[in-house]
């Protein structure tokens, strides 16, 4: 039997509710002509999935490991690698089900897909185009990679001082209580084919996730991934405290080329992340592609030139950081804005993230080792809010599509901005609170921080019994 699963939100709908959602899947499942996915779309989605894996291992792992001191290189690599593996299994066991099936509240999904039950090689998932589907298995692995990279982002915030076991335990809790609900709230919907007429559309919308219903736009995960992880990182940095010697001794990246490789692979992989989120291979995804490259280039240039003007030299670390800031900011926006809007978002994000990292962090004095907050949370917020601005067709954006009318709806920037604020605020509060509770719990169970002497010696030998270089 074909099953039908929903896909990321592209159509925010007026928040009228009517409980029909539960019926959708079976109805479509019974349909005579079950939708057959296009092999071109499927090929691209598999490629995209591979790219998101590349982003994480080795991409993100290298980006982070290059920035720490030689004695902590392997600890970062291991935290990323093991978190990735752990979450992959949790995703198969219960994560996918809780994120992407219909639940009884708009905050979390149900248990229909526990242990991947009911997921077959012929079940399909909806895209953003009516009548176009991709294999549900493809959707499962694509979203698995999103679920895996997000917790990995957090480890940069408390790098060089946390216990390895504490990382893993924290990840299990945070993934379950923060990532899965956020993914469901933002991306769960019934798919475009449910929007046959106004009544059906309202009914369908009522079954969607909380923030989808609010109309918040998040094309590829600005809220679900970056704000979500970024605020959890800040909470972690605050709760673990500063590294020994922070602020008094220099802690330069041990290997800047490694940072550059990591940043480049993140960029390369991000095309899977952003463009893959379009779920098809067509002209529209071509635009998403262009946005992803242009915003990033603009942000890297903006950060570098700002450094150049302000400090006298543009640094490689700055260019890499700027690129990531641009990637983060364009993530929620990439399917909603035009290329010139993307460039504008990139420039703004590059400058604001630099400010966050170089000034705001100094000002407040927290030790977010690798700037998870400054880049991912700040960049994510910038992107989420600017999406409302540059989505405007008047500014070259796509506007918001009305699946009932099958046309682009009139655009209301103020309303959209409010919807975006809903998304940002929900992510900040929900993930922040979950992170705080989770760190507290882990602290009680096993303690968060390694002993001072271990921190001095470095986590590689202490926690992993190895040295990076011999």
């Amino acid at each position: 039997m074909k099953t039908l699963t929903a896909a990321p939100s592209r159509r925010p709908w007026a928040a009228a509710a009517l409980a029909l959602g539960a019926m959708l899947a079976p109805v479509l499942g019974l349909a005579q002509d079950a939708p057959v996915p296009d092999k071109g779309d499927t090929a691209w989605m598999m490629t995209s999935t591979v790219l998101v894996i590349l982003m994480t291992i080795p991409g993100l792992a290298l980006f982070y490991a290059g920035m720490v001191r030689t004695k902590n290189v392997l600890s970062l690599l291991m935290q990323v690698f093991m978190t990735f593996c752990l979450i992959a299994l949790l995703w198969a066991i219960y994560g996918y089900s809780l994120a992407f099936t219909q639940g009884s509240t708009p905050f979390i999904g149900g248990l229909d897909r526990l242990f991947m039950g009911g997921l077959t090689t012929s079940s399909v998932a909806a895209t953003f185009s009516k009548g176009v589907y991709i294999p549900e298995y493809t959707w499962f692995v694509f979203q698995l990679t999103f679920a895996c990279i997000t917790p990995c982002l957090i480890v940069g915030a408390f790098a060089e001082r946390i216990k390895f076991g504490a990382v893993l335990l924290f990840m299990v809790i945070w993934f379950t209580a923060a990532y899965l609900p956020m993914a469901h709230m933002v991306w769960w919907w019934a798919g475009p084919d449910a929007y046959t007429d106004a009544a059906a559309g309202e009914a369908a919308l009522a079954t969607a996730g909380f923030l989808f219903q609010k109309g918040a736009l998040d094309f590829a995960g600005g809220t679900v991934v970056h704000i979500n992880a970024g605020i959890a990182g800040l909470v972690g940095a605050l709760m673990l405290g500063k590294r020994i010697g922070y602020g008094t001794t220099a802690m330069p990246p041990h290997n800047v080329p490694m940072v550059m490789i990591g940043a480049s692979l993140l960029w390369v992989g991000w095309f899977g992340f952003n463009v893959g989120s379009g779920l098809e291979a067509n002209g529209f995804t071509g635009m998403v592609f262009a946005n992803t490259i242009l915003a990033t280039a603009a942000a890297a240039l903006a950060w570098s030139f700002a450094e150049w003007i302000h400090r006298g030299t543009p640094t490689m670390l700055g260019a890499a950081s700027g690129a990531i800031a641009g990637l983060v900011a364009i993530t929620p926006a990439c399917g909603w804005v035009g290329p010139m809007g993307a460039i504008a978002i990139g420039v703004i994000a590059g400058l604001l993230c630099l400010l966050a990292v170089a000034w705001f962090k100094m000002k407040l004095g927290y030790d977010d080792s690798l700037d998870v907050f400054g880049v991912h949370c700040v960049g994510g917020i910038v992107g989420a809010l600017l999406t409302a601005v540059f989505c405007d067709p008047a500014l070259g954006g796509t506007g918001v599509y009305d699946y009932v009318a099958d046309a682009v709806a009139p655009y209301d920037m103020a309303a959209q901005f409010k919807a975006q604020l809903w998304g940002v605020a929900t992510a900040l509060v929900w993930s922040g609170v979950v992170a705080a509770v989770a760190f507290k719990l882990v602290d009680l169970v096993m303690g968060l921080r390694v002993a001072e002497e271990s921190e001095r010696e470095g986590l590689d030998t202490v926690s992993h019994g190895e040295r990076a270089y011999n």
Partner: protein, 112 residues
């Protein structure tokens, strides 16, 4: 015998080695070191935060020589390693009680 230890700028290493070989010194041992002195280091930037790096890469050249040519060696090094700019480095001379060539067991002047 004396042990002559010269701290020099790395890009002068080849010239120094050549110069003392010309005098007839057959061996030297070189170590990469970090020097701190009157010469100022550079500033490094990491994500907007500036760090002053005061240690500069230098080469330490150690040469065991017979007493007779100590002055010659010092002069040779001084001549080629000098750029006239701050940070050119130092030469230190210490007394060497004994020297042994491991391969042959020879000692004293024959060993160096």
């Amino acid at each position: 015998m004396k042990l002559i230890t010269a701290i020099i700028k790395p890009f002068k290493l080849d010239e120094v080695r050549q110069a003392i070989a010309d005098i007839g010194v057959q061996g030297v041992t070189v170590t990469e070191v970090q020097g701190f002195g009157r010469q100022r280091g550079h500033t490094e930037l990491y994500r907007g935060a500036e760090y002053r790096v005061d240690f500069l890469p230098k080469n330490k050249v150690e040469i065991a020589v017979d007493d007779t040519i100590v002055e010659q060696v010092i002069e040779a090094i001084t001549n080629v390693a000098r750029t006239g700019k701050i940070g050119d480095g130092k030469i230190f001379v210490t007394q060497l009680d004994q020297a042994v060539r491991i391969r042959t067991g020879e000692t004293g002047a024959e060993a160096v």
